[in-house]
């Protein structure tokens, strides 16, 4: 036990100390941060951009709407930044346009907005300008024109636009609750998008850390340090220590990344306020402690199944090319499982989904996915866990037997028949 701890400690400390760990641990929250902040930030930047105001408004409607639009666009920064408003008769539109065009080409104006003579029933509004491809600026302009057109219509119908706005403003948030045989709510469902993310994160991390275990075994074999180490510690202990230590790295990394992500999401409004941007917090899904514990258990067992298989592969091969080939079957098991994530998330109660919940190679990913979507009877959950524990035990047993022989064998990789012999043979 003490040696197991020493091996695990080395695996953990050497990896946590590496630059790779720091970078990849920071990367996830950084990515989440970008996803949360960037769009809002740029949208808000666009909103205060004074560029939008530097346009010419050619208004042939005779209703004065052009003036009101100009007033709304005016950012009040400087006189030459204000929109230029030209009230023209319908026949003079063409002339006004041709005189506004050189200003746009020379860059003195951003563009010109033409409000045609007819505002009812279908308004004739056009914009030409150098920024016509900017979605943000165009949608802002369109919003302003749209609002003013409605206000004009309301006024002509004898209504006060402000009063209408006050009356129609309604922020409805309907509370929902799931009703099941077991009672109201509380069944731990998270929602399909989050369930999808959970399954995908499980898939990625199990794959990623399984690969790290395999590379670790290959390194020990290729540098021949295994020869020295197994004279002090049994191959089994070395294998379990490695899986344990790298599992610890996974836990540390997921823990740090996860907590940072949750923090960012929960404090989105406060953080955005620092950037002088108004934004609301995203709602975090509610995860019950039982559900959280189940997720952790499935992750741990899934990690053990796959990392021990990857370790066995690492011990079998002597070169990178061999590793690529030999790991195919195990990789395929994972990839095929990942392909089922989408179908299962659409119909989590299907027979396919149920079957995949009892296969140790797919249940660590499929079962958490179903758990976050639908209530699962306890006995089915227990059956799934039991089959997974049995699969875990079998995978570790086979892997340990392959590992202890393969680690000190060099040269040609074993044929399937030799592998069977390795598993059967004594030490």
């Amino acid at each position: 036990m003490r040696k197991l701890w020493i091996v695990a400690q080395r695996e953990f400390l050497e990896r946590v100390r590496s630059r790779w760990f720091v970078v990849s641990t920071v990367l996830v929250p950084a990515f989440v941060g970008l996803v949360i902040f960037i769009p809002v930030y740029f949208t808000s930047r666009a909103a205060v951009s004074p560029d939008m105001a530097r346009i010419t408004i050619i208004d042939a409607s005779g209703s004065g709407i052009g003036g009101r639009i100009a007033a709304r666009l005016d950012s009040g920064v400087a006189a030459d930044m204000a929109p230029r408003y030209e009230d023209v008769v319908p026949t003079a539109v063409a002339a006004a346009e041709s005189s506004a065009t050189p200003d746009v080409i020379a860059g003195r104006r951003k563009g010109y907005l033409v409000l045609g003579p007819l505002l009812w029933p279908k308004p004739d509004v056009r914009y030409s300008g150098s920024n016509a491809t900017s979605t943000i600026e165009m949608s802002k302009l369109q919003r302003v024109v749209h609002d003013e057109l409605i206000a004009t219509r309301l006024r002509s119908a004898g209504m006060d636009p402000r009063q209408v706005e006050a009356l129609t403003a309604l922020d409805l948030q309907m509370s929902t609750e799931r009703l099941t045989a077991r009672g109201r709510g509380g069944s731990g469902e998270i929602g399909s998008i989050v369930a999808f993310i959970v399954a995908f994160v499980l898939y990625i991390t199990i794959f990623f850390y399984g690969q790290i275990v395999m590379r670790g075994v290959m390194e020990e074999k290729q540098t021949r340090v295994a020869e020295t180490v197994v004279s002090s510690v049994r191959p089994d202990t070395l294998l379990f220590g490695k899986i344990l230590g790298i599992g610890g790295v996974a836990a540390a990394q997921l823990g740090i990344s996860g907590l940072a992500t949750v923090f960012l999401i929960q404090n989105r409004a406060a953080l955005m306020a620092r950037l002088h941007v108004e934004a609301s917090n995203y709602a975090l899904p509610h995860v019950t402690p039982g559900m959280g514990a189940l997720l952790v258990v499935y992750f741990i067992l899934g990690y053990i199944v796959y990392s021990s298989l990857f370790a066995a592969i690492g011990s079998m091969v002597s070169s990178e090319q061999d590793a690529q080939q030999v790991q195919m079957p195990v990789t395929l098991l994972l990839v095929v499982t990942a392909l089922f994530i989408q179908p299962v998330s659409f119909s989590p109660e299907s027979r396919l989904a149920e079957a995949l919940s009892y296969i140790p190679f797919s249940s660590p990913i499929i079962m958490p996915l179903r758990l976050s979507l639908i209530p699962i009877p306890v006995w089915k959950l227990v059956a799934s866990l039991l089959s997974l524990v049995a699969g875990c035990w079998l995978a570790v047993w086979i892997a340990a037997r392959i590992y202890r022989t393969g680690l000190l064998m060099y040269g040609k990789r074993p044929s399937p028949r030799e592998l069977v012999r390795w598993v059967r043979a004594s030490r």
Binding site: V7, R10, Q222, V225, T228, S231, S426, R427
Partner: protein, 369 residues
């Protein structure tokens, strides 16, 4: 006859090139905290128990039998050579001693205890033939890891590591290589680190698998010095080799194995004596050689001739009298410059024994490899 292993010990009392001190001086110098006392704190008890006792072990792999009913007694405090051609089963035997492999049958005891018992192999140090370390770890961390795996407490291990690094000049006034990553070290320095890794827990039994292969001359010298020092500190050193010269210089006792079977074992003198063949080294004055050809072909006198131009090595026929050969030579008119009865070299014993086992000469090639 003076045992050659004794000679090598005396040879080591000459000043060492690096330190200018002899081994004996080393032992006499006052011990400051970072030297001898830490490296070999206590002499192990050299009672009558064998350091390693192997009883009728066999190991069969899928396609062949690696070790066949092998029994060995390796006495405490000896330098013991495990000799054999490539593929003889030396590494398999060593792996079984270290409990990395389990014999199909038979038992192995280390210092009187079964080697499978927890902590028993911690008393053994091992330098494998295929050497390597964790490349991205620093030297101190690798050594600490290896020492802790052998059950040395961290603080104790750190002191011993520092003492050894200084001793093998990996810590000098200019540079402390202990904090460098293994991959930054030259191959020679990595080999030194590997020695330390095998020694740092102060083992009672040291097992070296082909220790001199791929060693540069400086490190080969350093390792030889360490082996002698270990012996002087009462430790047992077992090493496998197919290089008879190094075995002959270093070993107190040897065992020759081939095809997984023991051919002969015992002290060097015993092994030579047991070989039975009487050898004569003969040198003749130039012109008189032609006359003796007939005598050397006499199968009642001479079993084999190995003519090396300056010296003719002659194996006498079984129960032939060397005096009769000498008389015959003189009567034939030969001018004898040298006529010496010699003990067979270990190399000779090895080649004879092994090629007797496999007449196709594979073993001969292996012995010369």
């Amino acid at each position: 006859m003076v045992d050659r292993c004794y000679q090598i010990v005396t040879a080591n009392l000459q000043p060492l090139p690096q330190t200018g001190k002899t081994v004996r001086d080393w032992n006499r110098t006052p011990r400051h905290p970072y030297s001898w006392g830490i490296l070999f704190p206590a002499s192990p008890d050299s009672s009558m128990t064998a350091a390693v006792s192997i009883d009728h072990i066999s190991k069969r792999f899928a396609n062949h039998v690696a070790v066949r009913d092998l029994s060995l007694q390796i006495p405490t405090g000896m330098v013991y050579g495990l000799l054999g051609p490539n593929g003889a089963g030396k590494t398999t035997t060593i792996r079984m001693i270290l409990d990395v492999l389990e014999p199909d049958s038979g038992t192995i005891h280390i210092m009187g205890a079964p080697n499978g018992r927890p902590g028993v192999v911690d008393r053994v140090g091992y330098l494998p033939e295929e050497r390597g370390l964790y490349r991205r770890m620093t030297v101190r961390r690798v050594l600490l890891f290896l020492a802790q795996l052998k059950g040395v407490a961290a603080a104790d291990a750190a002191r011993r590591i520092d003492a050894w690094l200084e001793r093998l000049q990996l810590v000098t006034a200019e540079r402390d290589w202990g904090d460098a990553r293994v991959e930054e070290l030259s191959r020679g320095m990595q080999q030194k680190v590997q020695f330390i890794g095998a020694l740092v827990h102060d083992p009672d039994v040291m097992i070296l698998d082909e220790p001199f292969s791929a060693l540069d001359p400086i490190n080969a010298q350093a390792l030889k010095d360490i082996i002698i020092e270990l012996k002087r500190a009462g430790k047992t050193v077992i090493f496998s080799t197919h290089l008879m010269e190094s075995a002959e210089r270093l070993c107190d006792a040897v065992c020759i194995i081939a095809q997984g079977t023991k051919l002969v074992d015992g002290t060097l003198a015993e092994v030579r004596r047991a070989h039975g063949v009487q050898q004569v080294a003969l040198a003749l004055e130039g012109g008189t050689r032609n006359g003796v050809t007939r005598i050397l072909q006499d199968r009642t006198l001479v079993a084999r001739v190995d003519d090396s131009n300056q010296v003719i090595e002659i194996d006498l026929a079984p129960s032939a009298d060397p005096q009769r050969l000498l008389r015959a030579l003189i009567e034939a008119g030969a001018v004898v410059q040298r006529f010496e009865l010699v003990q067979p070299s270990l190399h000779r014993v090895f080649v004879d024994r092994v090629s007797a086992l496999s007449p196709n000469g594979e073993a001969m090639e292996a012995a010369h490899a």
